[in-house]
């Protein structure tokens, strides 16, 4: 049937290559799609999502943590938190999966060219921003100063921290890490600020009127950051929020991800604050 592998309604086949544990409940899964999916998946823009199928469990929207590799390999950062993710975390390498997409709007990487970019990640929100970060760093000549502020609950759940530190050490990335609280750790194990992201932002000087700001994190984070960012003088059209809803179909039909009169899967998941300000239930 012609629909059998379009990746629109019927998932492409994919194979789990391996996994790399990032914390007690979160891992980075590398997934290889079938060869015929490569062209479709290569259209991925950071901030878009794919629908990952775990046979027998169901389908979940995941925003890839990096752009697809030359061989089409996707990196999906997934926390064990529900029915489907529990199944996924128990799968061995070589297991068969399904992929649809990419769906939704990504970050407006073309419009962002020439501007400084501030990325604000809270918790697992680092995953979608990591693909944007990699895009920016690989094309750093096209962008202004790149800054990442990343807040996690505590050091042991801070994801990708060695990788991010290494990127910052190479230059080209200003990195600020913060944790809500820091239990006693062996001396020299890890050091970062203690406090919430909005607090970190308070003491930060940047070219606010020119900057694009990309934010991804838990719902509470958006509400806290809105005031800080607007107060700093960032244009609401350049404050980009990646929102999370339970997208079932991914193609603007099931209505599960509705935000006011918009659909997170089709009109988002990346929205500018300007678009969201009129929608009471958005943030």
């Amino acid at each position: 049937m012609k629909e059998s592998s379009s990746g629109m309604h019927t998932p492409f086949s994919a194979t789990l290559i391996d996994r790399h544990d990032l914390s007690a409940d979160t891992a980075l899964f590398r997934v290889a799609p079938q060869a015929s999916a490569l062209e479709t998946l290569s259209r991925f823009v950071p901030g878009q999502f794919v629908q990952l199928s775990v046979p027998g469990a169901g389908e979940i929207p995941i925003s890839p943590a990096d752009l697809p590799g030359a061989d089409g390999t996707l990196e999906l950062c997934v926390r064990r938190v529900g029915h489907v993710t529990e199944f996924l975390h128990n799968l061995p390498a070589g297991a068969r999966l399904g992929l649809r997409g990419p769906f939704g709007t990504g970050f407006p990487v073309r419009q962002m060219a020439g501007h400084p970019v501030l990325l604000l990640a809270g918790g697992l929100g680092i995953a979608p921003l990591r693909s944007l970060l990699f895009h920016l760093l690989r094309n750093s000549a096209d962008y202004g100063e790149i800054t990442l502020m990343y807040g996690a609950r505590q050091p042991k759940v801070m994801l990708f921290r060695e990788e991010l530190s290494a990127l910052a050490a190479r230059g080209g990335l200003r990195l600020y890490l913060t944790v809500d609280f820091a239990p006693q750790e062996p001396a020299g194990a890890f050091s970062c600020a203690v406090g919430l992201l909005p607090d970190l932002l308070k003491g930060f000087s940047f070219d606010a009127p020119e900057s694009y700001v990309a934010v991804c994190g838990p719902p509470a984070l958006y509400r806290c950051l809105t005031e800080e960012l607007m107060g700093a003088g960032v244009d609401a059209r350049r404050i980009l929020f990646s929102l999370e809803r339970r997208m079932r179909c991914g193609i603007g039909r099931c209505c599960h991800c509705a935000i006011g009169q918009k659909l997170c899967c089709a009109d988002g998941p990346v929205f500018s604050l300007d678009e969201l300000q009129q929608i009471p239930e958005a943030l």
């Binding site: 049937m1 629909e3 059998s4 629109m8 309604h9 019927t10 998932p11 086949s13 199928s53 046979p55 027998g56 469990a57 169901g58 389908e59 938190v81 529900g82 068969r96 399904g98 838990p218 719902p219 999370e244 809803r245 339970r246 079932r248 179909c249 193609i251 603007g252 039909r253 099931c254 209505c255 599960h256 509705a258 935000i259 006011g260 009169q261 918009k262 659909l263 089709a266 009109d267 009471p280 239930e281």
Partner: protein, 324 residues
């Protein structure tokens, strides 16, 4: 002049002609006394005097539960949609407009394969109606969103042919038809309700609070709405290996509808009630601005606590401001 008049006495033969084009379904009354579209095995079961069926004809296009995909050997495959040719006879204009709206949703951008297969097998024959107290259409007694439309006249029905399939049916039934007065072709019926000030009506209008105090989130208004289509997707493994992915009707009045990890964006009944009607009357991306209410009156008829949205929609901005 074309022969387009069907005498009441030839209706039985006309129904038999329709059976040549597919399985005939029409308004009937179930054993429990509920008006329902069902297969018309015996033409005497036809109830053309019905006001509205409990479940709208959307059930022919979006079954309550259907398998979308099945998987085995590590691959998902599309389930072949069982879509027999069905002639749906006796649809009121509101239900025809409801199907026309669903067509926009499911056949527009990225057509849904299951819906498309069912829709291709469906022949729609509309009939004029007499609105009752629950109806709130604009007396839109005719609709062009069908293959054939029958307008009741003295002693029979005047036919309007509205598609190539309608033409085929009229040709097959030509011996049953006689000359009659020509009626202008029905046009698309305008939406019955246009909230002039959505910002007022759908923000903090005090009537929402009054409705929300009574609403029990039963979801009946959504189940019986001819244009409510939102669905959930579930996956079930089979004991023998493989499994299937299903979609089922869902309901935005249920508390689970707005849940996300760690939060619910529509946690209160007021939020959900208002959300449903915002979608219904102000539209939804990509049909933003398009009212999908067709005025069939089912939601008002089935609501166990008597919520009548017309109270809100009829409230003028000035009167709303004066509400306590």
């Amino acid at each position: 002049m074309e022969k387009r008049f069907l005498n009441q006495t030839r209706l039985g033969e006309f129904l038999e002609t329709l059976r040549l084009f597919g399985e005939l379904h029409a308004p009937t009354v179930s054993d429990q006394g509920v008006a329902a579209f069902a297969a018309l095995s015996d033409s005497s079961a036809l109830r053309l005097d019905y006001q509205r069926t409990l479940i709208p004809p959307k059930k022919y296009l979006i079954p309550f539960r259907e398998e979308l995909l099945h998987y085995g050997d590590g691959t998902y495959r599309q389930t072949r949609t069982d879509a027999p040719d069905i002639v749906l006879f006796g649809l009121h204009p509101c239900d025809l407009e409801g199907i026309a709206y669903l067509d926009l949703v499911f056949l527009g951008d990225r057509p849904d394969p299951c819906y498309a297969a069912r829709r291709a097998g469906l022949t729609l024959i509309g009939i004029s109606c007499e609105p009752d107290d629950f109806c709130f259409c604009n007396d839109s007694l005719r609709s062009a969103a069908c293959d054939l439309f029958l307008t009741a006249r003295e002693g029979g029905f005047q036919l309007a042919v509205l598609s190539a399939r309608g033409e085929e049916i009229a040709a097959a039934a030509r011996k049953l038809l006689s000359r009659g007065e020509a009626l202008p072709q029905p046009g698309r019926t305008p939406s019955p309700i246009t909230p002039q000030d959505p910002q007022l009506r759908f923000s903090d209008h005090p009537l929402w609070g009054k409705f929300a105090q009574r609403c029990v989130s039963c979801g009946a208004c959504s189940v019986c709405c001819p244009t409510c289509y939102c669905f959930d997707v579930r996956e079930y493994p089979a004991l023998a290996g493989g499994g299937s992915r299903l979609r089922e009707w869902d309901n935005c009045l249920f508390v689970t509808h707005g849940e996300v990890a760690g939060a619910n964006f529509r946690a209160t009944r007021l939020d959900r009630l208002r959300y449903r009607f915002l979608h219904k009357y102000c539209g939804f991306s990509p049909l933003d601005g398009m009212t999908s209410c067709v005025g069939c009156g089912r939601c008002k008829k089935v609501c166990p606590v008597g919520i009548d949205l017309r109270e809100l929609l009829d409230t003028s901005p000035d009167a709303a401001a004066a509400l306590p």
